[in-house]
Subunit: 171 residues, 2 copies
């Protein structure tokens, strides 16, 4: 797709000064490497090197560092329906008391794929992935509502997933 060098000026890897929040800053070349791996997580290092203008070994070292730092991970992602999870829902939660502790309880539940603290009329939003309606009902009514601090919940059952990308940084 990209045919040639991405590195212009200041593709300086020493650009690894920390930003305010302590997350490592990425230079243009590392971004380009990530883009390559977002297209195909198994693309050979040599091919990536050719695309970004680096040797095979250099790409390998960078990728390893990105993985070690937790900046990215290379994984298989699946279509939930195909793998047997037929019901999904987003659940908004109103909390009284410590939001963080409720969030931790949700995080430890296998069915909660996604847990985020929000500003707005919900304190927490959670994505639930279940096998069927019974399973979903049990998770929401029995398990989530049983967590101390959960005042009320509102569910949004998925009717149709229209888009789901993993292409952050590719814009």
């Amino acid at each position: 797709m990209h045919s040639e060098v991405v590195a212009s000026r200041s593709a300086d890897p020493r650009d690894s000064r920390e930003s305010r929040n302590g997350t490592p800053h990425l230079d243009a070349v590392s971004l380009a490497i990530i883009e390559q791996l977002q297209e195909d997580g198994r693309r050979p290092y040599a091919a990536i090197g050719k695309a970004v203008g680096l040797s095979e070994a250099a790409v390998r070292q960078r990728v390893q560092k990105l993985l070690d730092q937790g900046v990215m991970q290379i994984v298989a992602v699946t279509d939930p329906l195909t793998v047997g999870f037929r019901r999904q829902a987003m659940v908004g939660i109103h909390v009284e008391g410590d939001v963080e502790s409720v969030a931790d309880a949700l995080t430890s539940m296998a069915e909660c794929e996604y847990v985020v603290m929000t500003a707005g009329s919900f304190d927490l939003m959670v994505e639930i992935v279940c096998e069927d309606d019974d399973h979903l009902l049990e998770v929401i009514n029995r398990r989530i509502r049983a967590i101390p601090g959960v005042r009320s919940t509102e569910s949004f059952v998925y009717l149709k997933l229209k888009k789901q990308t993993y292409m952050w940084g590719t814009r």
Copy 2:
């Protein structure tokens, strides 16, 4: 992690009859292969084969088929904050008229990472990934609200992402 064979009885790959919705059904061995690749998308085929009880070539063929069928994809996923996207939000949308066409409009926006049609008090829910507050404001107020059929929106700005997995099927 998993030390030995997963395939017991009926790990029958001929089990590829279609389920009602037309998605191919997966047998136990393919599931096990997916689990391996969810732990590490670059794990060698031979290592996977040893874990699931198949030859290297067989694993390779299965993986290729799973990719071709779109059952899974192997990609790099990144932490949005590290890659420079500091503001995220979930937006619930009330629609009048054709929901599908609004969903399509949202889908074509780069900032919409996730678009889903829902049952409940929202017709659509969308996850937005932005660089900063200005960007987020522009996307929600100028772009989303401008889509014909959008009656109103409600935003939930992310304060803290507590959990995000890609481990469907690993339960």
